[in-house]
């Protein structure tokens, strides 16, 4: 599995894919947080990074499917999946190798934003006037969210040979699982079970982790969400239907 993981990472880093997606992510993040007046921390006047954590999921929603769309569909299209699958590797090792490689790229995109934390920390009216606990919680939340989106992206990539279709499916599923359940829960007819429906969505758990309280229920939710999508991905791959 580690061999495949390394090959995937090398593939990302030796092509422009990783640099461009990470670069675009950081550029958009930077513009939102420091330049655009409606969302700029400087104009807002409070030492908080909420802007980042509210915007990042929406950028992830496009960035992560873009990152994952080629992982399995390209292998299927070029027939190289046959190369992998006839080597002494289990389907699980293939799925995990690819999953962790994408996750590492997401982590690499997140790391530079720590500079923003440092900046806000220094800029506070009293230096250090920022809720560090909440920031740590939010980073953990964002990372878990990234993990969930990577699992969705991998699944989307496994069902089709076409990268564009994989991207479209990935974006839709990320969008729907993130806020779709919130919107559904607000429909009148669901009044009695609306909190249950909302709790199926990622947003509910993301917000809860972001408060800085790491609840086991949220952790279990994210891990089983990731697990469920990877199980389906593995099953799709095992079907060899292409």
């Amino acid at each position: 599995m580690f061999t495949l993981f390394r090959k995937e990472i090398n593939g990302y880093l030796s092509s422009l894919v990783a640099y461009i997606t990470i670069g675009v992510f950081l550029l958009v993040m930077g513009l939102f947080l420091w330049v655009f007046p409606e969302s700029s921390i400087l104009d807002y006047g409070y030492a908080t990074m909420e802007g980042l954590f509210n915007t990042a999921p929406y950028i992830f929603m496009f960035m992560i499917p873009a990152l994952t769309m080629r992982t399995l569909s390209e292998e299927q299209k070029d027939g190289t999946f046959e190369l992998l699958a006839t080597r002494p590797l289990t389907d699980w090792q293939i799925v995990w190798g690819k999953y962790f490689a994408c996750l590492l790229i997401v982590l690499l995109a997140l790391l530079p934003t720590l500079i923003y934390y440092y900046a806000v920390y220094k800029l506070g009216a009293t230096e250090g006037n920022i809720d560090t606990g909440a920031v740590i919680g939010s980073y953990i939340g964002l990372f878990l969210l990234g993990g969930a989106f990577v699992a969705i992206g991998l699944f989307a990539s496994s069902v089709t040979k076409n990268q564009i279709i994989a991207f479209a499916i990935g974006v839709f599923l990320c969008f729907f699982t993130f806020i779709g359940f919130d919107s559904l829960s607000q429909l009148l007819s669901f009044r009695t079970i609306d909190s249950f429906i909302a709790s199926l969505g990622i947003n509910e758990h993301y917000q809860s982790v972001s408060r800085g309280v790491l609840d086991t229920r949220d952790l279990v939710y994210f891990l089983s969400f990731i697990g469920a999508f990877l199980v389906v991905t593995k099953t799709v791959l095992g079907g060899r239907k292409w």
Binding site: S15, D78, T80, E82, L83, T86, R87, P88, L89, R240
Partner: protein, 242 residues
């Protein structure tokens, strides 16, 4: 017996891609697996390589069952898929290292340079696979199949797209490999079979129509060239050369 195929059947929807076929292959005797396009050659080879499951029947490679002991089969098998899929954005050596790592080959650097010599990739070894001509790509595919020194080799059209000089080189290589290993290869070039194969299995519309040694086949059909035998056994509507 290193490859045992016992009443193997593969059904795709309504169509029987291979229908109840049985044959064996043993070390030291290169087996030519022949048949018209769409006869079921690649399907059989994919099943033997553990890539797709069979519908009925059993098959074993190097003493391991292809369904029950798939990982063991893949450890002992060198497989070159049809159309020779390769990671085009990898360097020749990089791809060899990747495959060698997957197999946990000991003494990697030495083995890689040995295989590069064997397959005549020396001058091209620092290029990207995507920059190679078809003949050299074919060699990379063969090199990847033999890098872990497998006991059994299954090569699906290893010589397609080679020029006459390369043909001779690759045939010599295959002949050399076939001395100690079990080697099954499919091809459409009858002269090639006559030049290197001892055993011949001909498959038509999913069924075996001949399974004999090359000499035995010529004797029983009282024809001199394999081409005539092939046509008389597999051509539609009993078309014959005479």
């Amino acid at each position: 017996m290193s490859i045992i195929v016992d009443q193997l059947t593969k059904v795709y929807g309504q169509q029987r891609a291979i229908d109840n076929i049985s044959f064996n292959a043993e070390p030291g005797k290169i087996l030519g697996f022949l048949g018209p396009n769409g006869a079921g050659k690649s399907t059989t080879m994919k099943i033997l390589a553990g890539f797709i499951p069979q519908t009925h029947g059993r098959a074993s490679v190097a003493g391991f069952d292809v369904t029950g002991q798939s990982l063991e089969v893949r450890r002992n098998l060198g497989y070159l898929p049809e159309h020779n899929p390769l990671y085009l954005d990898m360097y020749v050596k990089e791809s060899m290292e990747f495959v060698a790592n997957l197999h946990g080959v000991a003494n990697r650097a030495a083995r890689i340079s040995e295989v590069i010599d064997l397959t005549g990739l020396g001058v091209e070894q620092h290029k990207k696979i995507g920059a190679l001509s078809k003949g050299y790509r074919q060699r990379v595919g063969i090199a990847q199949a033999i890098i872990h020194d497998p006991k059994v080799l299954i090569l699906d059209e290893p010589t397609s797209g080679l020029d006459p000089n390369q043909l001779v080189e690759i045939r010599n290589l295959l002949k050399e490999l076939g001395k100690s290993k079990t080697l099954v290869l499919s091809t459409h070039i009858m002269q090639e079979v006559e030049a290197i194969c001892e055993q011949v299995v001909i498959i038509n519309k999913g069924q075996i129509v001949a399974n004999d040694s090359l000499a035995g086949l010529k004797e029983s059909h009282s024809k001199n060239s394999l081409e005539e035998i092939f046509i008389s056994l597999t051509s539609p509507a009993g078309f014959s050369v005479d």
